[in-house]
């Protein structure tokens, strides 16, 4: 991958967005290979630490994919995820990682085409934004 190709770390809910990614695949919808998918049981399982770690390791963007409001397999995990993303956004943007690099999106299991759109869109925007300020840093 060339130097200006962004890396997206995606934490996807098993029940919706991960299944949508699967559907996109079986439907032969192509999307940028910039995304590295981590399958979670719920967007509510995404500990803020995971997001922080992804950025510290040089991710250009982090995507969290969860179920639409009202559809969470565990009733309210997606609402918890939403609060955590709001919190992380407030913290990270003070140090130069803006909300354009941390996305939370609702993508239902049937929305393979939306998954394709989200990844395509995010990759494009991150390319315009340029590499993360943390890329290639030398200390942990």
């Amino acid at each position: 991958m060339s130097a200006n190709e962004p890396t997206i770390v995606a934490f996807l809910c098993n029940w919706c967005t991960f299944t949508a990614a699967d559907l996109a695949g079986t439907s032969r919808l192509s999307y940028p290979s910039n995304v590295k998918i981590i399958r979670m049981m719920c967007s509510g399982m995404v500990d803020p630490k995971y997001v922080i770690k992804a950025f510290l390791e040089g991710a250009d963007g982090v995507l969290i994919g969860g179920c639409w409001p009202g559809d969470c397999h565990y009733i309210n995990g997606n609402y918890k995820a939403r609060r955590r993303v709001a919190l992380l956004t407030e913290i990270l943007k003070q140090f130069g990682i803006g909300e354009d690099r941390l996305w939370l999106r609702w993508v239902a299991a049937s929305e393979g085409n939306m998954f394709q759109e989200v990844i395509t869109d995010m990759t494009k925007q991150l390319k315009e934004l340029g590499p993360s300020p943390l890329k290639g840093r030398l200390v942990a």
Partner: protein
């Protein structure tokens, strides 16, 4: 309408007047014990749980030092309650932290009546020891004679010189050679009735003097936050700010609202294999050790910035003089505002990460079905 009782004292006898007041509370069995700052037999002042009136001679509630945010001590005393009545004399930052710990079910307030004291600030611990070694007293401090020392950085920015959410308040702002005891709640007034104390109006200029202190500190805070945000606007400068960090984790031990019973940073999650370090070194070419300093501070910001009361104990605990309090306070201002929350403002508001609603924060995803 709040009511006050005036306790007059002669110069040099502030602590004596207070010890008589608290002595009456113990003698008349209003409380089995009082938790408040007292001079230790050899040196220094620490929060002390006093159950016998003859031990009250050493008390010194306005000693300009807070060795530990006493919310943690009230938590120790009440998390598993004794069922015995006690009073706790606390500063605003301690009360506000206690409110957060109570919400987290790490403290209870059923057995404890809270006495808040007006707070002109505190010194750093080493400065306080030097100040008292030079003969400095609480009354010197209250009269503005700091003997060349300065109050801690966090205190200069603190918007809460007066403790809220307490049952009784010991007021010195606006008072001269007197402490005004302000009886605020039903529980507070029950204490007053047991003592049979008369009430009168409060100090005349109190409200305007409190406002003047707040105004001055607000200006100082806004200036410091702007300066600080400018100085840490990217990760490089943040890293430079935290350069002295050696992962001792004293800041989270000192933090009254760092609520985890066991910090993840001392668990096996962060006890890596040698091959892991070698791998990181291979990937980067050079690996700063110990690792994860920045990760630790950012995680702590995620965990507790919504609960941060700005007490400054993190800065005080740092062995390498990292100014952690402005970092945490500046971030906390933003994160708390996002959820329309203020740590310690009210016992009835749910903590931001302990609640959620289906129809909120729509702007996070920007998606509407």
């Amino acid at each position: 309408m709040a009511e006050f009782t005036k306790l007059c004292y002669q110069k040099g006898e502030l602590n004596q007047a207070l010890s008589e007041f608290f002595g009456a509370l113990i003698e008349q069995k209003v409380f089995d014990a009082v938790l408040l700052p007292a001079k230790q037999p050899t040196r220094g002042v620490m929060q002390t749980l006093i159950s016998r009136p003859d031990k009250l001679g050493a008390i010194d509630p306005w000693a300009p030092v807070v060795p530990q945010n006493a919310a943690k001590l009230v938590s120790a005393l009440t998390a598993s309650p004794s069922g015995r009545p006690a009073a706790a004399v606390l500063r605003s930052c301690e009360v506000r932290a206690l409110i957060e710990l109570t919400k987290l079910k790490q403290a209870t307030q059923d057995d404890v009546v809270l006495f808040g004291i007006d707070c002109p600030g505190r010194f750093e611990n080493h400065d306080f020891l030097a100040f008292s070694d030079q003969g400095g007293t609480s009354e010197d401090f209250l009269s503005g004679d700091f003997k060349g020392f300065e109050v801690a950085g966090a205190c200069k920015l603190c918007q809460h010189p007066v403790a809220g959410n307490v049952d009784v308040r010991l007021c010195m702002i606006g008072a001269e050679n007197a402490v005004y005891v302000e009886w605020l709640t039903e529980r507070g007034n029950a204490v007053r009735e047991k003592l049979g104390m008369q009430t009168e109006a409060g100090p005349k200029n109190r409200d305007s003097e409190v406002e003047a202190i707040k105004k001055q500190r607000t200006e100082e805070r806004d200036r410091r936050f702007a300066e600080f945000r400018e100085a840490t606007r990217d990760f490089q400068s943040l890293q430079a700010h935290l350069a002295g960090c050696v992962n001792c984790y004293n800041c989270r031990v000192a933090c009254p609202v760092c609520y985890c019973k066991e910090c993840v940073f001392v668990t096996d999650t962060f006890r890596h294999d040698g091959s892991q370090y070698m791998g990181w070194a291979d990937k980067r070419g050079a690996l700063k050790m110990p690792v994860d300093s920045l990760f630790y501070h950012l995680t702590r910001l995620a965990h507790i910035s919504t609960l941060c009361v700005g007490c400054g104990q993190c800065t005080s605990a740092c062995p390498n003089d990292i100014q952690l309090a402005p970092l945490f306070c500046a971030v906390a201002e933003k994160t708390q505002a996002r959820f329309d929350y203020r740590a310690g403002r009210s016992p009835d508001e749910a903590q931001p990460l302990a609640t959620f609603h289906d129809d909120e924060l729509v702007e996070v995803t920007g998606q509407v079905k």
